[in-house]
Every structure is written in C-alpha cells, then in structure tokens.
C-alpha cells in the first residue's frame, strides 16, 4: 500500500533541506570572498540575506511539524523527519557563522583599510565548504561511510585552527598594534571551525537516519 502523498511530502522536505543547504553554502563562500576582497557592501548584503536563511529554516520546520501531525510517521519515516529538523538547525547556524564572518569584515572596515589577514583562512574555508557539500551528499545518498569520512575531515580543520592560534598569538606578541587585526583573524577562523563542527552534526544525523543509532562521531577539541 503506497502512501503517495506522504512520500511526496517527505521528498519535498528533503528538497527544502537541500535548498537551505545551498543557501548556507553560498553565504559561507561569499562571506570569505567578501572578506578577502574587503568588499563591505557585499558583507552587508550577506548579513541581510541571513534573514532569508532563518525564514527558510522556520518554513521547513513548520512543514515538518505538519507532516508529523498529519502523517504520524514511524520508524525510518520518523527518523527522516526528525533528521531533517535537526539538520536545518545546523544549516541555519552555519548561515549565522557566515554572517559572523561578514560582520568581521564590516568591523575591519571601520577600523582600518588594510588588506585582510587571510593566512590559513582560505584553506579552512575550502575544507569547511567541502565538508558541507559532502555532508549534504551523504544525507541525500543515505551514505553512512561518506558521513564518517566527512567527520574525519574535521580533524584537519581543527589542525588549521591550531595553526591560526599560533600565528595570531605570535603576531599579537610581536606587534601589539596588530592585536585587533589578529583578534579578527582568530574570530574568522573560529567561525569556520564551528561550520565544520556543524557539518559533523549533520553527518551524525545521517548515520542516525540510516542506522537508528545516535553516535557522537567526532568530538572537536574546540
């Protein structure tokens, strides 16, 4: 006995999660690029566009609640709806971290007109964005192995975060006039590190969705 309407609603829910994922990914990519190019207007737009990410998250949440109320899902279906609800929370927070990077750019713009200190930021951003894409692929494909691989990649982001700490603190000690600039460097790295952590959360939900087991896969040291 197929449940056509229910299947359609579940498919739409997943599509909406992916749309939110692409919105969050664009925000992260743009925020780092706007920072690199010291484009304050672009960063301002990213901050404004975060409202759309927040709204999309609430819209999906509403749809998911209606699916629960009307279809009363159980077993894999229930896990699919619950996973979608958890994943959109992480995606919305990833959007907030992108907004955080955009805000850093605006603060830097107010205080100085220097090239941004990028250091390890592009490398961290590349890895965090790849983790986001791969975690959403694992979600669509219900691929536990891929989800675990994404979680492993978080170690490299943590390692880069260590390097940023070393570099920033050394910079602060060597030249106290650059404390503020190095602080923003640290904040930017912290936002990217949190994005990577959110991706491991998404992967934990993928594993739960497929296996029914809740596992803490990768405890970040940050």
């Amino acid at each position: 006995m197929p449940r056509e309407l229910f299947e359609k609603e579940l498919a739409e829910l997943q599509d909406d999660v992916l749309i939110l994922g692409s919105m969050a990914e664009k925000a992260v990519v743009d925020s780092v690029e706007a920072l690199r190019s010291a484009d304050l207007e672009w960063s301002q737009r990213i901050i404004e566009e975060d409202l759309a990410i927040n709204k999309k998250r609430f819209d999906i949440e509403e749809s998911a609640l209606f699916v629960i109320a009307s279809q009363q899902p159980l077993a894999t279906d229930l896990r699919a709806v619950m996973s979608a609800l958890m994943i959109i929370t992480d995606l919305e927070r990833i959007g907030d971290h992108a907004e955080g990077i955009a805000s850093i750019n605006l603060r830097l713009g107010e205080s100085e007109d220097l090239p941004r200190r990028m250091g390890y930021i592009p490398a961290m951003a590349d890895r965090a964005i790849a983790m986001l894409r791969d975690s959403l692929n694992a979600y669509v494909e219900r691929n536990v192995d891929e989800a675990r691989r994404v979680c492993d990649a978080d170690d490299e982001v943590d390692r880069l975060q260590d390097a940023v700490y070393d570099e920033a603190f050394r910079g602060m000690i060597e030249d106290p006039t650059k404390i503020e600039r190095n602080t923003y460097y640290l904040w930017t790295a912290h936002n990217l590190e949190r994005i990577a952590d959110r991706c491991t959360n998404i992967c934990e939900r993928v594993i739960y969705l497929v296996t029914g087991r809740m596992e803490e896969i990768n405890v970040s040291k940050y």
Binding site: F6, L74, A75, L78, R79
Partner: protein, 291 residues
C-alpha cells in the same frame, strides 16, 4: 513440548493430523525476539493453533513481562487476537480448535490437563472490542463475578475500589443503580474493566479495547491502561499503531504471508520497535506501506 487437544476433538493421532490439516510450511522462529528482563507473566513457547484444520498460529514464542503493557500488532488475520485468546484459554470455547505448545503462567502450562480453565480466566481477565456490560445496574455489573465466585468480603467496598481503579467512580458514584447500558461507550468500556478488576485478576487481556470509542474516550482508556500497569499485566491487541506506541512497553508484530499463517516476526521494546525495527516487514507495516 506438551500437547493439548480439545476434549471435543478426536484423540487418536490420525484424527488429530486430519484436524490440523496440511503441515505448515517450514517455519523458522524469528531471530528478532527480545527477551524481557525481570519477572515474566507468560512464557509462550512454540505455540501452534489450528481452527478445524486451518492453521492460525505457527511456532509463536515470546516472553511477556509482568506488570507491563505488551501490545500485539499486525494486519487483519495475522493471529494476534488468536494469540491473545490463547493466554486465558478462550480459544477452548471454539469447536474444532487444536493447540500445541506451551503457555507458561506462574510456572505452570495453562494447557496442562490439571489446570482449570475457569480459574485461568478468573486470574486472566478480558476486555473486548465492543463494550459488553450486562443489562444490569452499574453496581451489579461490577459485583457479578464476585457473587458468582461466592465472595465473602464487603461487596460495596469491592465495587467502589474496582470502579475507582477503572477511573469511573467519580462519574457514577451517585447513580450506581443506573443501568450499565445507559453509560457512554467509553464509560461502558471502563465499567467492563472495573468488572474484570473486581475478580482480582493478575492479567488483563484487551482485544482492541478502544476501536469502538471516540478519541477522548480512547485516551482515557489509554491513560487507565498505563495506571493499571503498575499493578497488573496488560496485553493489548490493537490496530492503532500510535496507541501501541503510546501505551505499551513491549510490542510484538505478527504476520500471515503466503507461506505461513500467524507467525511472530518481531518482538522488541516499544521504543525500539517504532523507531528502529529490525525486520523490513515490521518497518513496512508500521510505516503504513502495507496492511
């Protein structure tokens, strides 16, 4: 394995074979059967049942924990009501039934020749799908079993405590002489539960107890089931998956397929059953893909 054959049935082996009909297709017991910890109310082992040669249960084995709610679910014709009725020998009342296997209750096989089925049914009460109060007063409905059994205590106290336990007392205490049939459907069902409780049972079997009730009355019965589970073992047959998920501690999923009738597919703590069932057939049934 002990064998119990209805006294009305032929007792020689050839006739017994004829009654059973063709042998069941090869049946391997499910591997997905949990073993509840703690005290058990029933231990069912390799239970087979035939109605006039037509097999209705095949190799069912599971342990039912004491003072908990166990739900039996499955599509129509899967044998869940048949299994329920095996637990207090209600199937004995059906002509042409043959039962093999054991149902251990209080360390004795209830199908043993020395066991009195009437005493079994007193200890293991039953509530049916359609409320079936006697055409008597509320008081007499509850007192009926006690009177029949020669109860020597205070009948008023027994009626009051039974109605209180069935969460009906406050609604009827001023009108105990009113006919039981004048109550609402939900009240009638609680009256039947009070009537069962008045016999001081260990176990209450419920066969789709809410299917004739509206949603509010259903929720009241479900609340009552949870309350009663502190003192009684409850086994409930239900078609309502959400109800099984809400009220039960353990859930058994049964199925009849092309090959095997009335088999136990999976038995697990309810939380596990409804979030991560082990068997694909359980998953398909509880998620509404068939049945």
């Amino acid at each position: 394995m002990s064998i119990r054959v209805r006294s009305t049935a032929p007792t020689d082996e050839r006739s017994r074979e004829a009654l059973r009909g063709r042998p069941a297709a090869e049946h391997r017991p499910s591997e997905n059967v949990a073993r509840p910890e703690g005290d058990l109310a029933f231990s069912i082992s390799d239970l087979n049942l035939w109605y006039s040669g037509k097999q209705a249960l095949t190799g069912v084995g599971l342990d039912i924990p004491r003072k908990m709610v166990t739900a039996l679910i499955g599509p129509s014709g899967c044998g869940k009501s048949t299994l329920l009725r095996c637990l207090n020998r209600m199937n004995d009342l059906i002509p042409g039934v043959t039962i093999e296997g054991t149902v251990t209750y209080r360390n004795a096989n209830i199908y043993g020749s020395e066991v009195d089925p009437v005493e079994v049914r007193r200890r293991i009460g039953m509530v049916f799908q359609k409320p079936n109060p006697f055409p008597k007063s509320i008081y007499d409905n509850v007192a009926f079993g006690a009177r029949v059994n020669g109860f020597r205590g205070n009948l008023d106290d027994l009626v009051e405590s039974s109605l209180k336990r069935a969460a009906l007392w406050e609604e009827v205490k001023d009108d105990l002489k009113k006919s039981g049939l004048a109550l609402s459907g939900g009240q009638q069902q609680r009256l039947c539960i009070a009537r069962a409780l008045a016999n001081n049972p260990d176990v209450i079997l419920m066969d789709e107890p809410c299917s004739a009730l509206d949603p509010i009355a259903t929720l009241r019965i479900e609340d009552l089931m949870r309350e009663l589970a502190t003192d009684y073992t409850i086994v409930v047959v239900t078609h309502n998956m959400q109800q099984a998920a809400r009220v039960s501690d353990y859930t058994a999923f049964m199925l009849t397929d092309e090959e095997i009738t009335g088999q136990l597919i999976e038995y697990a703590p309810t939380e596990t059953m409804f979030t991560q069932p082990a068997d694909q057939r359980t998953e398909a049934y509880i998620s509404g893909r068939f049945g």
